[in-house]
Amino acid sequence: MKQEVLTEAMEGDRSIVYQRKFEKVNEIINRLGKSRSALIPILQEVQEEYRYLPEEILTYIAMAMGLAPASVFGVATFYAQFSLEPKGKYVIKICDGTACHVRGSDPVKEAIKKRVNLTGNKKTTEDLRYTVETVSCLGACGLAPVVMINDQIYGQMTPEAINVILDQLEKGEAEDE
């Protein structure tokens, strides 16, 4: 008897947590609709909210939309925009499109990786501050090489220039705190 009550209470608790966690997701799904063509826009908004696509949320979306989890994972893993791992607070995108490549995007990339201490294929720093990715063209090729930090584009980059920008970023953050 006692045991039962306890489990019930726990279940109740869990479902509240569960509900809260998915409240935002539900809101997004309700707003964009449950048709298949809404899947990508839904994933985009959910990622905006969480900065990545947590696995349990993908499963939840599949359930809510009446799709097989495999289709949702299939879409989430196909497109480069989606990340199944948490991303850092600052997402640094280094353009390695043709225009940027021939004007020296590689040294800029190396400088950034060295600065934030990323080696090998790792993309995100342990402390979840920085994610460093390469993309192929940000459409600002006239200013090659180009780097984008969150939504801000920086053109005509050099290893020195990007270090100055990151200095400013860190300084600004220290002041905010």
Partner: protein
């Protein structure tokens, strides 16, 4: 009723034109992605504040709504194309263009403008070689040789204000087809103009429209391809950001011609500003009854929706793009059936590129003959190109089809940066090929380029100088296509991977002599065996490299040398015996003990042991160690 529609549009045009005439002058600040990155929004604020402080500031709203008002307006425009020189500020009506403007320059600019004084000379473009200073935008060589038709409004009007578009003949093309032409006549007109798809394939647009028109279906779709995946190309971005209504008008005309009432614009994930501008444009077009239900009272309905891409190059391919709109993995499917027969949700679908749509309204207004009168016989009209890379003036240009590569690179692009020697241009992105010095007099049109093994593609033109290693460039493109291959068909999935391995070996100094033949064979197999255009064209950069720069490839795999000195694995370091004083500092710095010698005598490097880290070079006090 039809006349009512016409009258309404003409009335707006006339009324607002009067308002704009009262504008004493206009300051246009470029708010394209490039200039914004360089701080143009701050420049805009500074200029606005300055004009306000002098009591001359007026908004377009006031100009148009109150009869007596006059003053100077400060407006954010789309991309002018001369991104390298940004932030750009253009003055109307004088046509003066200021480059690299900073917020501190605002007082001087406004002072000169209001006192009708001479333009601020230090902010004008100065030719890097002749030193000549140009005040007017149109006189600058970069612009002088251009013929801006699709880009006519970019940098000239405020893309977020539909009234500016309407005053400059906007929506007249749509009105004309709705009130004077049958859908069939519209298709015929487009066909007669000779317009060919600007998305790369160059298929005659009128023919595609006619195919879709004759399909019997109550539901059809118009789709605008704004995926622009070719790295180094940004014309579609500039059009969507700088003149969104022109794209919408083209789509609506297409909708009428093929019998569709719904359209989608698929925009690349990386273009948030384009999405924003398109949204604003769709909203205001609806407000004025130029999109939506019962357009201009003619009974024609056309809704446009925006779909944002999610980062996959292959989604630029039309069947993959449609799959992506439907919410699926963006994988291409075999054709036929063509989208014209069975496209979005199985319905007949017309899919064209952004720039293709941007050419439509003008063809309707000015007539097919006008369009056909430009360019070459088989490639009519003008084409935008994004010139980037090692060229003096990078940016976005528009020229008649058929101008030569030389004109584009040397006259408009101003030649190579830093006086370097021209080596090649890569045209058409990862699907295109490279062209060399011998092609400088080649005409830039669909057919001439195909015959040289390249393609116009979207119009990305990357200029490379003598310091570029063509093998490394081929590896770069292969890496790109291999990454972007969707994995559906074997020749593309496996073939690109193996080709990349071979090229990687070459730049890593581990190439094998028989790789040349293997690479050639593989390239041909991938080209002939792949399912979609991605795989079919992926070998192009490699094939053109093998055709025009075979020596360079052989130098890598046989002699283990990189003639351009780019591939670090093939670099070697030598100690110049004349400069070496035998101090032994290098030997002590070397992490792998590859340097040895007797004190006070020249040292030597054991090439077998050397890992090419370059530590010795930076530590030599006599600059005696050289790469080579």
């Amino acid at each position: 009723m039809n006349n009512q529609a016409k009258d309404r549009l003409l009335q707006w045009k006339e009324e607002w034109s009067k308002g704009f005439k009262r504008e004493k002058a206009r300051i246009l600040v470029c708010a394209g992605t490039g200039c914004v990155a360089n701080g143009s929004l701050d420049v805009y604020q500074a200029l606005k504040k300055e004009v306000e402080a002098r009591g001359e500031y007026i908004t377009v709203d006031l100009l148009l709504e109150e009869d007596e008002k006059t003053g100077v307006s400060v407006v954010k425009s789309g991309c002018h194309g001369f991104c390298e020189m940004g932030p750009l500020v253009r003055l109307e009506p004088s046509g003066v263009l200021y480059i690299k403007v900073k917020t501190e320059d605002a007082p001087e600019i406004v002072e000169a403008l209001l006192t009708n004084g001479k333009p601020v000379e230090r902010l004008l473009y100065r030719h890097p070689v002749t030193g000549e200073v140009y005040a007017e935008e149109q006189q600058i060589p970069f612009y002088h040789h251009q013929n801006r038709t699709a880009l006519a409004h970019c940098g000239v009007i405020d893309p977020e204000d539909i009234r500016e578009y309407i005053v400059d003949e906007g929506y007249q093309g749509l009105m004309r087809v709705l009130t004077e032409m049958t859908p069939e006549e519209v298709c015929q007109e487009i066909l007669a103009s000779g317009l060919r798809g600007r998305g790369g394939g160059g298929f005659p647009t009128g023919r595609k429209w006619e195919f879709t028109r004759i399909e019997k279906s109550v539901k059809k779709y118009v789709v605008c391809n704004g995926d622009e995946g070719d790295p180094g190309a940004f014309m579609d971005r500039s059009l969507m950001e700088g003149d969104p209504h022109k794209v919408l008008e083209g789509m609506a005309i297409a909708g009428y011609a093929i019998g569709a009432d719904e359209g989608y614009i698929y925009v690349r994930a990386e273009y948030p500003l384009a999405v924003k501008r398109l949204k604003v444009a769709i909203e205001s077009a609806k407000q004025y009854g130029l999109l939506g239900q019962n357009i201009l009272g003619t009974g024609f309905n056309f809704e446009v929706k925006i779909k944002e891409g999610a980062g996959a190059f292959v989604c630029g391919e039309e069947t993959a793009l449609l799959a992506s709109i439907e919410g699926k993995r963006g994988m291409p499917s075999p054709k036929p059936p063509f989208p014209a027969q069975s496209g979005l949700w199985g319905k007949p679908t017309l899919i064209n590129n952004v720039e293709t749509f941007a050419n439509v309204a003008k063809i309707i207004v000015k007539g097919a003959a006008w369009f056909k009168g430009q360019g070459t016989e088989k490639s009519s009209g003008t084409k935008t190109f994004a010139i980037t890379g090692q060229v003096a003036n990078t940016g976005l240009i528009e020229v008649p089809m058929g101008v030569t590569l030389r004109q584009v690179v040397f006259e408009i692009g101003g030649g190579l940066r830093g006086g370097k020697k021209f080596k090649a241009v890569q045209i058409g992105g990862p699907s295109g090929g490279c062209l060399t010095e011998e092609h400088l007099d080649l005409k830039l049109d669909y057919d001439s380029l195909l015959s040289a093994g390249a393609m116009i593609g979207s119009g990305g033109l990357v200029v490379m100088d003598e310091d570029t290693c063509m093998v490394e460039v081929a590896r770069f493109f292969m890496n790109f296509t291999q990454n972007e291959s969707c994995g559906k068909c074997v020749p593309c999935r496996e073939g690109t991977k193996r080709m990349l391995e071979i090229l990687q070996r070459a730049v890593d100094g581990e190439g094998r002599p028989d790789d040349v033949e293997l690479l050639q064979d593989l390239a041909e197999a991938v080209r002939d065996g792949s399912l979609c255009g991605l795989g079919k064209t992926a070998p192009n950069p490699v094939l053109t490299m093998l055709k025009y720069f075979k020596d360079e490839y052989i130098a890598h795999v046989v002699d283990k040398k990189c003639p351009a000195g780019v591939c670090s694995a093939l670099k070697g370091y030598q100690i110049d015996p004349d400069k070496c004083k035998g101090c032994s500092k290098c030997a002590r710095t070397c992490p792998v003990q590859a340097i040895s010698g007797e004190i006070k005598k020249p040292f030597t490097i054991d090439q077998e042991k050397c890992i090419k880290c370059g530590a010795c070079v930076s530590n030599c006090p006599f600059k005696a160690i050289k790469e080579g």
